[in-house]
């Protein structure tokens, strides 16, 4: 038994937490631990995802992106070691998410934690597990506005605030002065809507939440119709939105639809009638789709899964990439070290790289974290001081029952 060095307690906290992991107390550059031949072992990081529960559809999309990303990383390797991702299920609930994070951080000892989907769960994990440690938390999907108040909690998806502003401008520009809003009754829906309401100058004819996973939203739809507004804004998820579109269609309601990011997706197109949404405008955070890296990603994705990627897959993909680069750039595989590198490997300084291979090469060639600027498939990934990425937004319009990009907005 020995007392750990009191001198730099804060620095040791992190390594203490992951003490049972195999890379716990390395003090040199990654790979030479006191426990010996770790250099061939994989780097283990963790991910909390909604594998079951109400957001499991997002979890599924994430997992596709994650798998693809791991393939890419491990084709190249990080310091000749593999990257391994331990995925735990949050059951889409706080309790499950916290338990999952507890296991990852305090049992598996991961210094880097990707998670979670829902904004509430991400915050819960941050507050109760990550906050006082050095572990890096990077949420893959949370767009809730509250996360901005927690600089230690990074996220790949941009804050919903930019979206809300963009939507308010867009609807205004289209000449509507009255809008009916319905939002999903959780942190995501509520905070985005709050931001929208703040930014919106016109009238709000209807503004009500709806619960997730209901079997029918005809009450909501009819109330929106009743409200008299011609512009309808949906801040909700794909499944809920598809239900609403179908119900509006079979009730014969007509309106100009607008939507926040989570209402778009191939599955929405597939499961709604032709022409039911034509003209709808959606603001989504996005990499410029004409970029080459996105197109490679998309075609790889399609080859693997037989469908177009969603932005959720892209976020998860970039989370893994960012983690991998942070690990490679760090001196050692500890939370403290990764805190140092995670923002910088994709930050605006340095040479732009669009693939892991290229970015990794720069580092391998002796570059520091600031010498590389990884450009993700979901965007340029530049975290600001609040831990939010500087987002690029794309305006999609539904034309002939397909999404067409009709414009870009910078965050």
């Amino acid at each position: 038994l020995s007392t750990t060095d009191d001198g730099n307690e804060s620095g040791d906290d992190g390594s203490g937490d992951d003490g049972s992991g195999d890379d716990g107390s390395g003090d040199g550059s990654s790979g030479d631990d006191d426990s010996g031949d770790d250099s061939t072992d994989a780097y283990e990081i963790g991910m909390v995802d909604s594998l079951t529960g109400s957001l499991s559809a997002f979890g599924e999309r994430n997992q596709r992106g994650v798998e693809l990303a791991l393939q890419r990383v491990n084709e190249v390797g990080i310091n000749d070691r593999d990257l391994e991702l331990i995925v735990e299920d949050s059951e889409s609930e706080n309790q499950g998410g916290i338990a999952a994070a507890q296991k990852l951080v305090n049992q598996d000892g991961v210094p880097f934690l990707i998670g979670a989907v829902g904004s509430g769960v991400s915050l819960a994990i941050y507050e109760s597990v990550v906050q006082d440690t050095d572990v890096v938390q990077l949420s893959q999907n949370s767009t809730g506005l509250n996360l901005t108040n927690f600089p230690g909690l990074l996220r790949m998806s941009p804050s919903g605030r930019t979206q809300s502003l963009a939507l308010a401008n867009l609807i205004d520009d289209d000449g509507y002065d009255e809008v009916a809003i319905t939002y999903v009754n959780n942190d995501y829906g509520q905070s985005l809507t709050d931001a929208f309401v703040e930014a919106w100058d016109g009238d709000i004819a209807y503004n009500n939440p709806h619960d997730q996973e209901q079997q029918s939203y005809s009450g909501v739809i009819s109330e929106m119709n009743e409200s008299g507004a011609d512009a309808w804004l949906f801040v909700t998820y794909q499944a809920e939105f598809a239900t609403m579109v179908n119900e509006a269609f079979s009730a014969g309601y007509e309106a100009q639809f607008y939507g926040a990011d989570s209402v778009s997706g191939d599955n929405v197109l597939e499961n709604t009638p032709e022409g039911s949404m034509d003209g709808m405008k959606i603001v989504v955070p996005s990499a410029p789709v004409e970029e080459e890296n996105y197109q490679t990603f998309a075609s790889d994705f399609e080859a693997e899964y037989g469908q177009q990627p969603t932005s959720w897959s892209a976020y998860a993909y970039d989370c893994v990439m960012n983690a991998a680069l942070a690990i490679q750039a760090a001196d050692e595989f500890t939370g403290a070290a990764l805190q140092e590198t995670v923002r910088r490997v994709s930050g605006p300084e340095g040479e732009e790289a669009t693939t892991f291979e290229a970015a990794s090469q720069i580092l391998a060639d002796g570059g520091g974290p600031d010498d590389v600027d990884y450009q993700g498939v979901s965007g340029p990934i530049d975290f600001n001081e609040d831990g939010d990425p500087v987002g690029f937004l794309q305006i999609l319009e539904v034309q002939d029952h397909d999404y067409e990009g009709v414009g870009f907005i910078e965050g």
Binding site: L1, S2, T3, T4, D5, D6, E9, D12, D13, S15, G16, D17, G19, S20, G24, S25, D34, S35, G36, L51, T52, S56, G59, E60, Q63, I86, V87, E88, D89, E91, S92, E93, N94, Q95, I98, A99, A100, Q102, K103, V105, N106, Q107, G109, G120, V121, L123, A124, E127, S128, Q131, D132, T133, G144, N146, N185, N186, D187, G189, Q190, S191
Partner: protein, 418 residues
Amino acid sequence: MSFLTDPRGTLGDLTRPEAWVLGVSVAFLLLLFVALLAGALGPTYFLFLVGLAGMYALLSFGLNSQWGFTGLINFSVAAFFGVGAYGAALMTADSSPIAGGFNPLVGLIVGLSVAFVLAVLIGIPTLRLRADYLAIASLGLAEVVRLVVLNERWLTNGSAGLRGIPSFFAGWPVLSTFPQAMPGLRLEVVPGSPIFLEAPFWRASLNVLLVLGFAGATYFVLRRAHRSPWGRVLRTIRSDEDLARALGKNTYSFKMQSFVLGSLIMALAGVFYTHLNLYVGPGDLDPITTFYVWVAVILGGSGSNRGALFGGIVIVTIREGTRFLNDFAVPIDPAPLRLLLIGILIVVVMRYRPQGILPPQRELIWPSAVDGSGTPDRPASGVRERKRSDDLENRSENAENRSDDRDGNGPNGGDDDE
């Protein structure tokens, strides 16, 4: 666990299932201990699990004192849990929209008081209903509570939830700074796998201390109540309410007492949860918690306090233990696999231990009345597994009494505890 909190620890007179459970528990504990020493199990994580188990044990105690004692089918466990959690969080959290910043003890009191009021409010209309109806009425009212918490933002912060919650011991002398004050320790039992005990570990130990305090006190109260005439009236109501009424028991009042008591215990679990996880959101009121607690109580054995304790531990083992199964590569999508495993485990336990793992075994008579001579009450062999030979012996002994000794003071010797 069961013998840690069971101060009497009467090893001498265990029934077969008890011995079995004890054996398995000891083996399991040893395994955990070895894993801890070998560095295979993170001590901080382990303590978190113990805290979680304690929380589920508390919830199970609460439900057991409603369902197990009185037969009240309460499907609003999550609501009371949530009310306790929110009560504590709203008082203590710095993000609280109504108050906040109070001492956690205030939160404790407020959480329990709100649960008390809610229990009475839910109890008044539903406790007159037949058991099945109470079940769904409580489920419905729980949903109402959840929706209120979710939608009334001025009161609860809505879907954003509450954060910035202090530790339960914040503001206490010594304990509030204990985690930071403790030196970081490094243990190396198995060479190469050192164990670190630092601030998060000490924080987790405080949580465990807290939950052991809560659960221990609850267990003490419930055990005494269960063995008392009070508990007996509840059990009579459970089996035949009319009989209790005919014998002059005010069954509505007893049902209310049992309902309130159980609800308070659930709220206590909620208070603990708040300070364990430091974040509370409307999702914590989801009915899934209710189902898990039911599973815990039934798995443990309805009506048995030790069963409830054990069931709470088992449910955490099932829920969190299955995470480790993901470590083994399986050919199918791992996502729903855990759900599948949990489902299978529930079915398997019901199949092989249908009365629960530790069903009530003993007669429940006030201790001093049965073991006045100081001997511990032996298991009432008649209750579950009466041995055939015993039975015949007693009966033939009695037959002799019947024909020879009419005054009936003879037969007493055979079956009494004294």
